[in-house]
Structures are given as structure tokens and as C-alpha cells.
């Protein structure tokens, strides 16, 4: 995996599995797109391909049989490069992606660079099944930062994430603003039927006592089906 760039990527083996799962889901979606409804009677291809997704189990509970079951031969081709760039044409964002992790208290660490956004590597990568999370600053001490205009996004707007040569297109389907202490964790980080994306920045009032904004703005997007 060439994208194993930063020390913050600790669960890269899961990404491989996630890639395999992507193949399975993509196959299922492909069939679904073709028929206008999900896999019909010959659902066996999709069902069969669920197999390689098995190693998506966290390392701690990895089964011994994984050694035979998660061979690189099946998982390999589905692996995609780590996300490197995010573009949001409507608000003129074209930014590099850092790799984000959590701090000792378990909170997401924002990007170090105010001009870059960051992808949370403890969750799925953009384009893999599940909710990929990309966070970016609203502002620095000096002025607007990468996601200064995030709250302007509306349903239908496009977000493009680059992974190596591949660009994964997403379509915004809604936005919410919530107090950080009432952050919608399940909606942001919980399992989803397919590949989705959440863009997160700050919003609301700036609390000078803490030096932080009180709210987060979250933009929700769903991967556009492959044509």
C-alpha cells in the first residue's frame, strides 16, 4: 500500500479489507443500477464476494482462518490508493489531504495546516463503504481557512476526492450544524449502506474563553453510482 504515508494510519490492513468489501458492494450496486433494483435471483456473485470482506474485522478479533481466507490474490486488486486531495467546485476548494487520527482524549485531531483538509484514517477511505470523514478548518487566527465556505454547500453540489489516479465523485445531500457537545456522532461515524462522505468544520459562535467555536457544521454526501 503506497499510501501508508503517515504514522497516523494505523489500521491499513483494514483498508485492504475495506477495498475488498468495496468490490463486493460495487458489484451489488452495479447489478442494482442495471436492473433498477437490487441483485435479482442470481445474487450469487454478490453473495460470493462478500467472502473476501471478512478480514475487515479489527486486528484484535481476527480469526485464524484469515490466513487462508484473506489472500492478497483476492484482496489485492480492490485496494485503492489513500485519498490525497479534495475538491469542492462550488466553494472553490482544492486542497491537499492530511491523515488524521485521534488524540489521547479520543477527539479527532484537526489538520495541522489551515490550508489543507484531513481525512480520518480510523474510518473508511472516501469511496469505500461507510462514512469517510474529512475535516478542515473554518479559519486560522488571521482569516479564512480551507473550509471557510463549507456551510454554503447545498444538496446536489459535488465533492471530488482523489485517490491516486482515481477520482471518487460525491453528491451533497444535506447539511447540519450542531453544538460540539451534542455532536451527531452516530450520524457522522455510523455504518452506512454504501460509500458516503462527511465534511466537517466549525460554525456558530467563537468562544474566546476556550479559543474554539461552539458548533460544528457537517456536510453529508453520498458517492455517485459508477456509470
Amino acid at each position: 500500500m503506497t499510501g501508508r504515508a503517515g504514522p497516523a494510519i494505523r489500521r491499513h490492513r483494514n483498508r485492504r479489507a475495506a477495498g475488498a468489501a468495496l468490490v463486493a458492494v460495487a458489484a451489488a450496486l452495479g447489478v442494482a443500477a442495471g436492473t433498477g433494483a437490487g441483485p435479482a435471483a442470481p445474487a450469487t456473485p454478490a453473495a460470493a464476494e462478500v467472502g473476501p470482506a471478512a478480514p475487515a474485522t479489527p486486528l484484535a478479533i481476527r480469526r485464524p482462518d484469515c490466513a487462508t481466507h484473506c489472500s492478497p490474490a483476492t484482496a489485492g486488486p480492490a485496494r485503492a490508493a489513500a485519498p490525497t486531495r479534495v475538491r469542492v467546485p462550488r466553494i472553490a476548494v482544492d486542497a491537499r489531504l492530511e491523515t488524521l487520527g485521534v488524540d489521547a482524549a479520543g477527539a479527532l485531531v484537526p489538520p495541522a495546516d489551515f490550508a489543507a483538509a484531513g481525512w480520518y484514517a480510523g474510518g473508511p477511505a472516501p469511496g469505500d463503504p461507510g462514512p469517510a470523514v474529512i475535516a478542515g478548518h473554518l479559519d486560522s487566527r488571521d482569516g479564512p481557512a480551507v473550509f471557510a465556505r463549507l456551510a454554503e454547500l447545498r444538496p446536489g453540489d459535488r465533492v471530488l476526492v482523489s485517490r491516486g489516479d482515481r477520482v471518487v465523485p460525491f453528491r451533497v445531500n444535506g447539511t447540519l450544524r450542531a453544538a460540539k457537545r451534542r455532536f451527531p456522532t452516530a450520524a457522522v461515524y455510523g455504518p452506512t449502506p454504501g460509500p458516503e462522505l462527511r465534511l466537517v468544520t466549525c460554525g456558530g459562535d467563537f468562544d474566546r474563553r476556550t479559543g474554539h467555536y461552539r458548533d460544528n457544521v457537517v456536510v453529508f454526501a453520498v458517492a455517485e453510482p459508477a456509470v
Partner: protein, 289 residues
């Protein structure tokens, strides 16, 4: 000071207009904020999918329409055992109509129902039962993350051949017992990995199914009548990909450079606008002589 008195009277009108304008601006801002915010904890869309779970019912065309919002989405030729992909849909009420495959859309539907979609929730609208007493049922799909290190699975019982069914992992605990035809169990937390499931009907017939469940993922195990007799199963991954380590709380993505001076922004803004308006009025007065 006669002229000054006129001036202040002249000021009154624009000042009133200004107050009105400021008031409506504030109202607009509040409206915009609530439109963006919505219910604090809900995702902006829900998910709906369709399923044909009636063994002796021929293929159907399914129509999904939001009242007053244009053309319905059509799922043509949905046959027994088909479960569609989830459609992300804005929260609201949707009408579901089912016609036999190929029947024109202007003919009365065989079955209709309504599904109320909440943000963040997922639903399967399923044609269930025998053809003779076919019904549309709205199943709520709980796609929330399973306990850490677990998978979630439920049984969707759509087999007439095994009217009552037990499902258990070989050498493991039961997944579901006494599941009747045309019913669906709640999701159960199970150990992930490769499982051999044994399905036993009250008639004594058993069928084995091998499934692989990933930790953190959510599944529906469909039990169907096989084309050539007996039972068959189909494992559907309903949702997956929740963060392995879920960060706590929000994200501190701002340093306050845009926040402006340390004061009450509304008051400051209001004063600034008032001062500007007063200045404009004075200027205009001077200009008019």
C-alpha cells in the same frame, strides 16, 4: 434650532425602515441557521429500499413517489427474492405503489402503502405473504453500529416451505428461533467471521448456509424458497464501514480569525449599520441642501 428639528424628524422615517430591515435580516439569518441546522442529531437523509418476499407472486413494478414532488421512481420487474439497493431520500412521506410487471402506470395499483422517512433512518418496503394475501410492510432497518468487535444480523423469513424456522450458528448460540413466514427478526449481535448457520424448520428439514460477517457491519439473512425445492439463503450487507475507533465529540476546526471583535456581534453589527445609515441620511441632507 429649527432646521435641526426637521432633520431629526426626517431621520425618523429611515431609522424606522432601518429597524425593520435589521429585524428582517435577523429573522432571515435565524431562518437560514435553522434550515441548515435541522434536528440537531439527525442526518439529512433517510434510506428506502424495496424487497419482493412473496414466493408465489409474479414480478412487480414498484413506484416510489414523494407527494407533489414530480415523477415517481420506478423499479421495474422486481421478482421474488430481490432486495434493491438503498435510495437516499430527503426526510418526508413517500407513497409506494405496486403493479404487476408491465401494467401501465395509469392503471390502479394492486397494493399501496406509505413510508414516513426520518433523517438517518432506513426502511425496507417489502411485499410479504402469499400472493393470495399479499401485503406491503414497512420494515425499519436499524443500521446503527453493532457493539465493538461484533456484527449484527437479522433473519428475513420469506419461505413458505419452512413456515416456522430456527436459525443457529453451528456449535454456537441461536440467532433466531421460531421465525414465522413473512416476519423479520430484530438484529442480533453476533461474533464476526465465518459462520456455518443451520436453518431448521418445524418439519425437521435442515439447510446449512455458510456466511462471512465482518465486524462493524449490519446484515439481513434472507430465507427464500429455492427454485428447485428446499430453502436457500441470501446474505445482504445492509450497512458497513462505521469508524473502527469512533472519535468522541466534535472537531476543533477554527482559530477565530473570522470571528471579528470580541463583543456581541449582533449589537456591534446593529450599531454599525445604524451609524452608517445616520451618516447616509446626513450626507443626503447635505446633498439636497
Amino acid at each position: 434650532m429649527h432646521p435641526l428639528r426637521t432633520a431629526s424628524r426626517r431621520l425618523l422615517v429611515p431609522a424606522g425602515a432601518l429597524l425593520l430591515a435589521a429585524g428582517s435580516a435577523v429573522a432571515a439569518a435565524v431562518a437560514a441557521a435553522t434550515a441548515v441546522a435541522g434536528p440537531a442529531h439527525a442526518a439529512p437523509v433517510g434510506y428506502v429500499r424495496l424487497a419482493h418476499l412473496s414466493p408465489d407472486t409474479p414480478a412487480v413494478d414498484v413506484y416510489l413517489a414523494a407527494p407533489g414532488r414530480g415523477e415517481p421512481q420506478i423499479f421495474p420487474g422486481v421478482g421474488y427474492g430481490v432486495v434493491s439497493a438503498y435510495l437516499p431520500l430527503p426526510a418526508g412521506r413517500y407513497a409506494v405503489a405496486m403493479r404487476e410487471a408491465g401494467v401501465p402506470a395509469d392503471e390502479p395499483p394492486v397494493l399501496t402503502t406509505e413510508v414516513a422517512v426520518s433523517g438517518g433512518a432506513a426502511y425496507t418496503v417489502a411485499g410479504v405473504g402469499r400472493h393470495a394475501d399479499l401485503g406491503l410492510r414497512v420494515l425499519t432497518d436499524d443500521l446503527s453500529a453493532p457493539a465493538p468487535g461484533h456484527a449484527k444480523v437479522r433473519v428475513v423469513q420469506a419461505s413458505v416451505r419452512a413456515p416456522v424456522l430456527d436459525v443457529a450458528a453451528a456449535g454456537g448460540p441461536p440467532v433466531a428461533t421460531g421465525v414465522r413466514f413473512a416476519t423479520t427478526t430484530d438484529y442480533q449481535q453476533v461474533e464476526p467471521g465465518r459462520l456455518r448457520l443451520r436453518l431448521s424448520s418445524t418439519g425437521g428439514q435442515t439447510t446449512d448456509a455458510e456466511v462471512t460477517l465482518a465486524a462493524g457491519a449490519v446484515y439481513s439473512l434472507l430465507v427464500l424458497d429455492a427454485e428447485r425445492g428446499g430453502l436457500t439463503t441470501e446474505l445482504r450487507q445492509d450497512a458497513a464501514g462505521g469508524a473502527v475507533v469512533v472519535p468522541s465529540g466534535g472537531v476543533d476546526t477554527g482559530a477565530g480569525g473570522r470571528a471579528g471583535p470580541p463583543a456581541y456581534p449582533m449589537v456591534v453589527g446593529g450599531l454599525a449599520v445604524a451609524a452608517l445609515a445616520a451618516g447616509l441620511v446626513l450626507l443626503r441632507r447635505r446633498g439636497c441642501g
